[in-house]
């Protein structure tokens, strides 16, 4: 159990590490945005582990997208409320 294969946290850290060169070449503010994306992927490591996908980075991308979409939905809701209250 968890002895033969890496844990999902290890995989995550490795994937993040593999983008060090990419990150280094980004502008500082973009670097911070990238870090933020990785942090949002971390919120769903348990689910990513359970998915047991052969290419884990795909799942991690989906985790990032998920958090982004939650944010979009929340903002959309707030905008709608603002519009309603103006009218």
């Amino acid at each position: 159990m968890g002895r033969t294969l890496q844990t999902i946290t290890d995989i995550f850290l490795q994937e993040q590490e593999s983008f060090t060169r990419f990150r280094r070449a980004l502008r500082r503010k973009d670097q911070l945005a990238l870090d933020d994306l990785f942090i949002s992927a971390r919120q769903h490591l348990a689910a990513a582990g359970y998915a047991a996908h052969a290419l884990p980075f795909e799942t991690l991308l989906l985790c990032m997208l998920l958090e982004e979409h939650k944010e979009v939905m929340q903002l959309r809701e707030q905008v709608n409320q603002l519009i309603v209250s103006r009218e």
């Binding site: 942090i39 919120q43 359970y50 047991a52």
Partner: protein, 730 residues
């Protein structure tokens, strides 16, 4: 002659033909019996090899009976074996060693089973069992019958005579000067340097009080070995053993690696006819003490002196051996099943542990913790998971057929623990049984927990990785089903951790509000689940490195009844100085007084005031040195440190003072100013208080207080952000 009483110990002896059994008679007398007890081991292989083995065995000096028979191998089914019955149990290990080296390719069974386990399997007699013995006039046992089973909730109390011996200091840190001796209502202190009077006094106590159990501190590692040396030098009698003419048995110290941790087990000294247990060399002593050791011995069948010193893993294996022998299943000498091949994808799916979620960080109210009761053992029993059973197609469907070896072994233990737990919940706070029930259920918990681990352990005789994987798969399935049920019923799931969930729903305050949830989860999973408690509030903490990264199982909270629950914070760590542990818990106790979450802001200043006071006490030298001690384990041998850790530097001081410390041993030390930065406790007699590294300790205090306060103060969503900002400790 017929006697009733309690079995103290069972062992083989050079002088005795069979085995020796010591009994505490109900009449107050101590009895020594001998019992003729032939033992059998088996060998399997090709017909021609077995014929050669037969001829070899016939030429051996031991008294043997050979036969050819069919027996049940758990993995291979019925096999033809050569059965070799050895008249004297003492001779089996030596004979078998010769056989195994002459015929290394044969498969052997029942070859290395502890004599006490064989005895327990044959007669149902376990350590401390209340039983009836019929014997002839030479004290040879004719028949023995247990009058109770290991599964009694309230067995008759055993009238053990206990002699306690305790040096006044830890010998690995400093040289003790006195020995505290207590038994019955007698308490005395003997100087350790006057050797002859000490030996004389101990000998007279041993003779007059005649203890059944000698309970010591550092008896294995220091006291008994040094008493034995003194005894030899002074040529003085010292009847540590009851069994006449026998030497005390000594085992060497060892250090080994287990579950990513280095473990140190000191030298061991065991007695014959009496028992010796060393509080500081017993496994898990701090968790369950003597009651737990007794329970361990009763349920596993291992003699008390072994049960005290062996790991729960050996305990659970012993239980499996007893079940196997009773069921006529062979116990393989070495495991010979390999893992079945898997595809990469199958491996990715199977090689997973329990589900560990990332909690939703922050302060929450209206939260309840619910836990599956003994989840993994429960899964093995309910769903019949055992190396020989066929796993069903769907998770959470029981395997077909008769209950397997593992469920059969576990079921009575699981039921006993549930019974003890439910009695614990019912009996009053002051009931005298409380402590015993708790110790025993803890000992049982360890056995149950390790049983799961042993299924996946490569050397476990009845282990099989596929069964181990099935257990975690069922566990994940159960947890996910529980999550789905909770969400269907309108709960928010804040956190999940292997066998527990934290669920939230507004305005739920009574245990009965959760009845429906628990019932539906039970229906959907088949595993009982219980309410751990309803929290007034709970805080899930982020990582220390990044406040947005959640960390599983790091939280603190207060239940409705004011009880505090913490995991993963400083107060739970063994290397936190005691005064910081107390401070953190006291801070939580202050916060726990807040009637609700909304009142918390009023209590935060009180908690910070406590921190300020501790810092003042620290600066003024008001904190006793003992409370500043840091306890750490030496994680490797001293030589292999490249840059020595504080613990290693402390060990260096002890080594300089002539002490011997091995990897895995715990060291206590203080942080001091300048180099080397630490002071090993007990390295020399005088320690100047002014050397304490106040600012270092202050940092630790602040870190521990920040763990609690930062999380509460940053809770903007509760609307007291501003209030708290003003009172944040500097």
């Amino acid at each position: 002659m017929k006697v009733t009483g309690w079995v103290l110990d069972v062992f083989t002896l050079e002088a005795a033909r069979g085995l020796v059994l010591w009994l505490i008679g109900e009449d107050g007398k101590r009895y020594r019996f001998e019992h003729c007890f032939p033992v059998t081991f088996y060998a399997a292989g090709s017909a021609s090899e077995l014929r050669t083995l037969w001829r070899f065995l016939q030429s051996q000096p031991e008294r043997l009976t050979l036969s050819r028979t069919e027996r049940h191998d758990l993995f291979a089914g019925m096999v033809t074996v050569l059965a070799c019955k050895v008249e004297s149990p003492l001779e089996l290990p030596r004979l078998f060693a010769r056989v195994a080296s002459a015929f290394p390719t044969l498969t052997y069974y029942d070859a290395d089973i502890h004599i006490a386990l064989r005895y327990a399997a044959m007669f149902g007699v376990f350590p401390l069992a209340y039983c009836e013995i019929e014997a002839d006039d030479k004290n040879h046992i004719l028949s023995i019958h247990p009058l109770e089973s290991p599964w009694e909730i309230d067995p008759l109390p055993v009238p053990l005579r206990i002699l306690s011996l305790e040096p006044d200091a830890d010998p690995s840190h400093s040289t003790p000067s006195h020995l505290k001796v207590s038994y019955d209502r007698v308490h005395s202190t003997l100087p350790l340097d006057a050797k002859r009077p000490l030996l004389a006094s101990l000998e007279s106590t041993l003779k007059t009080y005649d203890p059944d159990l000698i309970l010591t501190s550092w008896g294995d590692t220091w006291l008994l070995p040094s008493l034995l040396t003194d005894k030899k030098l002074a040529n003085f009698p010292l009847s540590l053993n009851r069994e006449a003419g026998q030497d005390v048995i000594q085992h060497k110290e060892r250090t080994y690696f287990s579950y990513g941790q280095i473990v140190y087990r000191g030298q061991q000294v065991s007695l014959r006819g009496r028992l010796h247990i060393d509080r500081h060399n017993a496994m898990l002593w701090s968790e369950y003490e003597l009651e737990g050791v007794f329970e361990m011995a009763r349920v596993t069948g291992l003699p008390l002196q072994d049960a005290a010193r062996l790991s729960p893993g050996t305990g659970i294996s012993s239980m499996q051996f007893i079940t196997a022998m009773r069921e006529g299943i062979l116990v393989p000498y070495r495991k010979h099943q390999a893992e079945t091949p898997k595809t990469a994808l199958e491996l990715i799916r199977a090689d997973m542990g329990g589900m560990v979620y990332q909690p939703i960080i922050g302060l929450h109210k209206d939260v309840a913790g619910i836990d599956f009761v003994s989840m993994y053992p429960g899964i093995m029993v309910h769903f019949n998971i055992s190396p020989e059973t066929q796993r069903a197609k769907d998770d959470l469907t029981p395997a077909a057929g008769e209950p397997g070896l593992i469920p059969k072994t576990l079921k009575p233990l699981l039921l006993k623990r549930l019974a003890l737990k439910s009695s614990l919940a019912k009996i009053s706070k002051y009931d005298s049984r409380r402590q015993s029930y708790r110790a025993r259920s803890t000992a049982e918990k360890w056995l149950l927990v390790t049983c799961f681990g042993y299924l996946g352990y490569k050397n476990a005789r009845f282990g099989r990785i596929e069964s181990h994987e099935a257990v975690t798969a069922y566990g994940r399935e159960a947890l996910l089903r529980a999550k789905e049920v909770a969400e269907d019923l309108g709960f928010e799931v804040l956190h999940m951790y292997v066998d527990g969930l934290w669920v939230q729903k507004e305005h739920l305050a009574n245990p009965s509000d959760f009845d429906e949830l628990l019932e539906v989860i039970r229906e959907h999973t088949g595993i009982p689940i219980a309410l751990d408690g309803i929290y007034k509030w709970v805080v899930f903490l982020p990582s220390k490195l990044n406040s947005r990264v959640p960390v599983p199982n790091r939280y603190f909270g207060v239940f409705q009844n004011g009880e505090i629950k913490v995991r993963g914070i400083e107060a739970r760590r063994r290397d936190t100085p005691p005064f910081i542990v107390t401070m953190q818990i006291d801070m939580l106790k202050i916060l726990a007084r807040a009637p609700s979450v909304d009142d918390l802001p009023e209590y935060i200043p009180l908690a910070s005031a406590l921190v300020e006071k501790k810092i003042r006490d620290l600066r003024e030298g008001q904190i006793p040195l003992e409370d500043l001690l840091i306890t750490q384990r030496l994680s490797r041998e001293l030589k292999s440190y490249r840059s020595p850790s504080p613990a290693a530097r402390a060990v260096l001081q002890l080594v300089d003072a002539g002490k011997h410390i091995s990897a895995g041993q715990s060291i206590r030390f203080l942080y001091t100013r300048g180099k080397p930065g630490v002071y090993a406790w007990g390295a020399d007699k005088d320690f100047d208080k002014r050397r304490i590294d106040i600012s270092g300790y202050q940092k630790l205090v602040k870190r521990a207080s920040a763990t609690i306060l930062d999380a509460l103060i940053s809770q903007t969503n509760l609307g007291f952000f501003k209030v708290c900002q003003q009172i944040k400790p500097r």
